[in-house]
């Protein structure tokens, strides 16, 4: 039998590392077990092609909770966020729509296309600010169970009720609309210019098997507005060294708190005796005892793979089986010998330092979804393209570049299933689509990594390749994430906890689930 720990965290993704750091900070002797050789889960930087560092999965950061940055002093451990200042949407007529760092410049640019939208954008921005303010307290809150009469839940509900009442009618109604509408409908109420609506609505479909016209996507849009970098909502940035360096910084902070981290240590299952977790057994048979075991994996793995479903109530197993994953996004990473030349903005302008959004119209996005709805990858997908080496030259050899392309849609349930041939065909569709806007791209490619939802699942373990550990759909949020009555990080097995993005408040490099879980463990399991 191996050394005993107070707490074992399964999975060295960013939430697992955050949970471990907080547990150790609270005095628990803590061990993190990561299956892969590299920490970070879906926040990893890997040199897949010599000299070129790929942000393999997640690629930008905004949602990481400021209180975690402060509590763990992540800047001292390597967190360094660089500005991602612009978004450019190439249009089919050869023009473009740009959002720049300077709000006045952005407004003038939008005026070029629609003076009315330029005005509307200012008021819309104010509303989204208020919506983010409205949601912010919820992000740091243990989700109360509305069906429970326990004092804690009642107090939570009362607090929540008071919070919503304080919003006032106008903002409450806006919030309700965001919670229920499609992003396309919601944006139609505000804007007329197609590329603008499409680019904004794209935030609403990320990581979700829904199109911009599907109800519920407006909330995902809000989810992407909630980040606060340096006190400013919806600011996005690059981590120096890629998102893997965020995981490394959290790991370093965790080690500084005394956490032991083991890689290449895959957990076979959680040991349970008499309804109480007693430790874990690794693949290979090593048993490690602990009285607290925390799973950073998604709900499917947490409840149906790491433990015997017979240890759990039927209703929970059922809810978890119905929990929607439906991975819908892929990733293409490119090593480039030079910079792409966009027809709409020729040369090496500032647009290459920001995001390039392939989202010319709502119709384009909805058609991309149509392909996926019927089991095919999008022939002309939505793409969020960034070139991290533009702002962080260390990502590629001098003068060369890495390009990260987030792609939607690539359905997990592809007709006939994914194979090597289909993966490459998907990669070709991505590059061909990009070449419509930047014709020289093909001649620049030194190496290409294509990742389908199946690859995402195979490499990271994320069920069906869903990047959020389960869709951010209203029926899977807050006190329903991942299942009714089990949204407070605990499980029916005593001493067995959950801390992944499959719990409230969910996906993105946020760390909130890990922190809330650790705080709840420290509070209730002395």
């Amino acid at each position: 039998m191996s050394e005993r720990y107070d707490a074992i965290v399964i999975g060295g993704g960013h939430n697992g590392l955050v949970a471990a750091a907080y547990l150790a900070r609270g005095g628990r002797k803590t061990l993190v077990l990561e299956r892969r050789h590299v920490l970070g889960g879906a926040s990893v930087t890997e040199e897949i092609f010599p000299g070129f560092k790929y942000t393999v999965f997640s690629y930008v950061v905004s949602l990481l909770r400021p209180e975690i940055i402060r509590d763990l002093d992540l800047p001292a451990h390597g967190l360094q966020i660089l500005p991602l200042e612009s978004t450019v949407t190439p249009m089919d007529n050869g023009d473009y729509l740009a959002g720049w760092a300077d709000p006045d410049e952005t407004r003038r640019e939008l005026c070029r296309h629609s003076p009315r939208d330029a005005d509307a954008a200012v008021v819309f921005g104010r509303l989204m600010h208020h919506m983010a303010m409205a949601v912010k307290p919820i992000l740091g809150m243990l989700p109360p169970d509305p069906t429970s009469l326990s004092p804690g839940d009642l107090a939570g509900l009362l607090k929540l009720g008071g919070h919503f009442r304080s919003l006032g009618a106008e903002r409450f109604h806006a919030l309700h609309k965001l919670m229920t509408m499609s992003s396309a409908d919601y944006l139609d109420e505000w804007f007329e210019f197609g590329p603008l609506k499409a680019t904004k609505s794209a935030s609403g479909i990320i990581g979700t098997f829904l199109g911009p016209r599907s109800p519920g996507t407006a909330y995902v849009l809000l989810h992407h507005y909630m980040g606060e970098l340096d006190g400013a909502f919806r600011a996005w940035g690059f981590q120096k060294g890629g998102t893997g360096a965020i995981s490394e910084s959290i790991a370093s902070a965790a080690r500084a708190q005394g956490v032991t981290i083991r890689t290449n240590a895959a957990v076979e299952r959680v040991l349970v005796r008499n309804g109480q977790a007693t430790g874990v057994v690794l693949e290979g048979g090593e048993e490690i005892p602990a009285r607290t075991v925390v799973s950073g994996l998604d709900p499917r793995l947490t409840f149906t793979r790491l433990v015997e479903p017979k240890e759990l109530p039927e209703s929970l197993v059922d809810a978890v089986r119905r929990f929607k994953f439906r991975g819908s996004s892929g990733k293409v990473n490119l090593a480039l010998s030079g910079l792409p030349n966009f027809t709409c903005l020729p040369g090496e302008g500032p647009h290459l330092r920001g995001a390039i959004s392939i989202s010319p119209s709502i119709e384009y996005l909805e058609r991309a979804y149509d392909d996926a709805k019927y089991g095919e990858f999008s022939r002309h997908p939505y793409m969020d393209v960034v070139i991290p080496s533009m702002i962080d030259p260390g990502m590629a050899p001098p003068g060369k570049h890495v390009m990260s392309i987030f792609v939607q849609y690539a359905p997990h349930n592809l007709n006939g299933g994914w194979n090597d041939e289909k993966r490459e065909a998907f990669g070709d569709a991505v590059v061909d689509t990009l070449a419509r806007y930047a014709p020289n791209i093909k001649s620049l490619i030194l190496h290409r990594q294509v990742l389908t939802p199946d690859d995402i699942e195979r490499i990271t373990g994320l069920t069906e390749g869903n990047i959020f550990q389960g869709e951010l759909a209203l029926q899977q949020l807050f006190f329903l994430r991942p299942a009714p009555q089990w949204a407070k990080y605990r499980t029916p097995i005593r001493g067995y906890w959950q801390c992944g993005a499959g719990t409230h408040p969910g996906g993105g490099i946020m760390g909130a689930s890990g922190r809330l879980a650790a705080n709840e463990i420290l509070r209730t399991a002395p």
């Binding site: 400021p66 940055i69 402060r70 992540l74 800047p75 967190l79 360094q80 966020i81 660089l82 500005p83 200042e85 760092a101 300077d102 006045d104 410049e105 303010m133 606060e228 340096d230 006190g231 400013a232 909502f233 120096k240 330092r353 533009m390 702002i391 962080d392 030259p393 260390g394 001098p398 003068g399």
Partner: protein, 395 residues
């Protein structure tokens, strides 16, 4: 008319929003972009090229050059080796700081002094009875500061010298792309970085050579706004912002000794006679009345002040340079003179003068800030400077 720097033909077309500022009678870029975020990021992440030609520069030669400087500055000139650079303050007879800058020993018998303010008169006064040549190079020599973790990689491509051999606060005469330059491993950012000194008529050619070599390394022209944030993180003071030159101060109370502005380490106790020696010895014996320290504003208290008005904390991406009172237990114990949000450390920082004994690291004080038109006090902790001190600076 404000003067323009020898690099102006290159910097001028890059200043997109015409954000210029005055610096010692020169017109210099505040920022090239409308906001300094990217320029600041380049200093800490890649490399930034900053025009610092507005510094005053003097070449001091002759039999008594060393004696003149030793009499002027607070550090011991007899220990400065050829190819070495000092950062140092200098004082008046009462031990109050006149200015701060660098002294480089260019070779056996010639030196270069840089200063924030014109120092010609002061040098001549101090040279009375000595045989020393004082040549004002301020307009003849342009200066570029190349700062950031990749600055050495860039210079390794173009400088005809072994960059690995150029240590912290050392100087070498060399060429860059065939252009004769002086190259020192110095700067005002607290990062790995260099300053490059060039004859004005070769300045544009030097800029072009560096811009070309730096392109694959993300070299970014940066203005004073970005530099200001970096220098606050590095805890580096600025004359007439964080302290008044004793030559400018309208009252005695506005003058500071080196001990009062965190430069006590640069006062050599053992050296021969120099300006202010007696006063400084006396001050050292009784302990300085003021300390110059860092303040780190406690985020929760800062956030609370804004939340009261339904606002998220307001953060500027430009440093502030105004005096703000600092309190301890309700009583004013000093004042902050500049501060910024550190994008790197994710903290709100300030530089402050505090009365003894309130400047001990860890002391909790309150800093006055204006929130929604009201004067409020945010909790802050006294920190030892610098806030940021990466290994690469000296490595």
């Amino acid at each position: 008319m404000l003067k323009t720097s020898p690099f102006h033909p290159r910097t001028s077309p890059l200043v997109r929003a015409q954000t210029w500022r005055r610096w010692a009678g020169y017109q210099m870029a505040s920022a090239y972009d409308p906001h300094p975020d990217r320029e600041y990021a380049a200093i800490r992440n890649a490399a930034a090229l900053i025009d610092v030609s507005a510094l005053y520069k003097y070449r001091i030669t002759g039999r008594d050059a060393m004696r003149l400087l030793d009499r002027t500055i607070t550090r011991d000139m007899t220990k400065l080796k050829p190819g070495q650079v000092y950062y140092t303050p200098w004082c008046d007879g009462e031990g109050k700081v006149v200015d701060d800058g660098t002294v480089t020993r260019l070779d056996e018998s010639s030196y270069r002094l840089t200063s924030a303010d014109s120092s010609l008169r002061w040098l001549h006064l101090n040279a009375a009875g000595m045989s020393a040549g004082i040549e004002d190079l301020s307009e003849r020599v342009g200066a570029l500061s190349l700062q950031g973790p990749l600055s050495r990689a860039i210079l390794s491509k173009v400088a005809a010298t072994d960059m690995a051999a150029l240590k912290y606060f050392r100087f070498v005469d060399t060429t860059i792309a065939g252009i004769p330059v002086g190259l020192s491993r110095t700067g005002y950012t607290g990062d790995l970085g260099y300053e490059i000194w060039v004859e004005a008529d070769r300045a544009v050619a030097l800029w072009d050579a560096l811009a070309e070599a730096g392109k694959p390394y993300g070299l970014t022209p940066a203005g004073i706004w970005a530099l200001d944030i970096a220098r606050i993180e590095a805890g580096l003071i600025m004359m007439d912002v964080d302290y008044f030159s004793s030559h400018h101060a309208l009252t005695e109370a506005r003058k500071s000794s080196p001990y009062e502005i965190n430069l006590g380490w640069a006062v050599s106790a053992g050296k021969g006679p120099f300006n202010g020696r007696r006063a400084l010895a006396a001050e050292r014996a009784r302990g300085p009345a003021w300390g110059f320290v860092g303040l780190e504003i406690e985020w929760e208290s800062f956030e609370r002040l804004f939340a009261r008005h339904g606002l998220p904390p307001q953060i500027s991406n430009v440093a502030w340079r105004s005096s703000a009172p600092v309190y301890d237990a309700g009583r004013q114990v000093g004042y902050a003179t500049s501060g910024c949000w550190s994008p790197l450390l994710k903290k709100s920082l300030a530089l402050a003068h505090l009365r003894a004994p309130h400047f001990a690291p860890g002391t909790q004080v309150e800093l006055e800030i204006t929130v929604e038109h009201r004067r409020e006090r945010a909790i802050a902790a006294v920190r030892k400077l610098p806030f940021f001190d990466p290994e690469r600076k000296k490595a």
